[in-house]
Amino acid sequence: MTEHYQLRCRECSRAWGNAPLASCEDCFSPLEVVYELDVVRRSFTPERIAQRPANIWRYAELLPVAPEDRSALPVGFTPLVESSRLGARLGSHSLYVKNDAVCFPTLSFKDRVVAVALAQARAFGFEVVACSSTGNLANAVAAQAVIHGLNAWIFVPADLEAAKVLGTTVYGARLVPIAGNYDHVNRLCAQIADRHRWGFVNVNLRPYYAEGSKTVGFEIAEQLGWRLPDNVVVPMAGGSLITKIHKAFAELAALGVVEPRPVKFFGAQASGCSPISTAVKQNQERIQPQKPVTIARSLAIGNPADGYYALRMIRSSGGWAEDASDPEIVAGIRTLAETEGIFTETAGGVTVATAQELFRQGRLRPDETTVLCITGNGLKTTDALAGEFAASPAIEPRLAAFEAYLGEVTVPVQGD
């Protein structure tokens, strides 16, 4: 083995080298990528990283990809926005938004995980890549498969938002709608992956794929000046992202790149699909699956693959989890747009609404530094806002008509 990383079972710790594996072949538990940190340490320094291009590969030593397998796409390195106007609304003096609504190329954080997964798919010699998806992953796989010259098969719940369907098929991917929810789709994909030799990014490539999420954490730390925040608020679907941001911070601390400090992790879910936040709030040991009923379809996973680990990590960090109703999600989308000029999808509305509630409960405190992870773009879920804004009747193209119009309308004053 020449790589400085390999798969290891999260439960029995057996090492498996590098291979497309869905789980430990001994005990059938999930796998995780581990790194030889002594190798990483030689070149992973803030000075060197500062000289590298502004994309996820600036953290290459902590990603399980060989240089020759990477695409040249400038994925990631999205803005960390100091959000004083949103902070004033929520009650924070030090609030940041990590804005993956503008992640390249398909406007969600899934571009990060797919960049890693498809590079490995190429390394393993797959010709077909596939995924089960609530939409954002579908878009990311479809787009990046083009760049890698791979055939993409995308399995989605049949009721997916139109923009996410279009944003998949436009790249020439094969979209297979399934008459069921995401959990049905995911189960079917596990069975297909068992029979066909395809690279399923969230089945047999999942351990690699999930590592891409760490780049959100690396970027937050670097953009804060190689410093860890006090709190992170992260939307949870399968529960992977929040655990990987934690792993990223732990790796940076282990390497001495940041000062180790306790970071509290706060998970955000939609009330209509809240298996993880419910387990946190009710102090359960295991996750009880749910049937999702929510407008936040990108978070509508009732049987979260990493829920167990997310639950444990949130608890041990001293954090908490909350969930937001559909009206609160819409209000969260509007709050972020009105205060910071960022249009996020429903998952972002969940994050903002949950953060608001956590500030109200006093679990997030005004003087601590808090980062909200905004993971997707509002243009993909415009149907969630249907009916929110009354259409104005057209006026004649004459100045007098406009003056009359001005006399009739009350200009709304938004914000603080």
Partner: protein, 94 residues
């Protein structure tokens, strides 16, 4: 009740490569008990030390997760198809 159990590739080394099994049982605990007797190697991969279904094993009846059907209390119907899927999710006890 006569039911069919679909065995994933990962488990077939314990079942003599059988990919489907016919069983005559009424409930999930009975089914797991029967599988463990017939294929002792499977036992640690089905239930943990406390007798609960392992967190990383998901069990479906036809298209539905058995936890939505009542879990251990669900009574199989004639011809039900039971699918074992390891490690797609960190599940919960039934």
């Amino acid at each position: 009740m006569k039911i069919t159990v679909r065995i994933p590739t990962a488990f077939r080394r314990f079942t003599g490569n059988a990919d489907t099994l016919d069983c005559s049982v009424d409930t999930l605990p009975e089914l797991l008990g029967q599988l463990e007797v017939r294929y002792p190697g499977l036992q640690p991969h089905l239930r943990d030390a406390t007798g609960q279904v392992r967190p990383f094993l998901n069990i479906y009846v036809n298209e539905e997760d058995i936890r939505f059907l009542g879990g251990n209390n669900y009574r199989f119907h004639e011809g039900d198809e039971v699918t074992l899927v390891p490690s797609i999710a960190g599940g919960s006890p039934v």
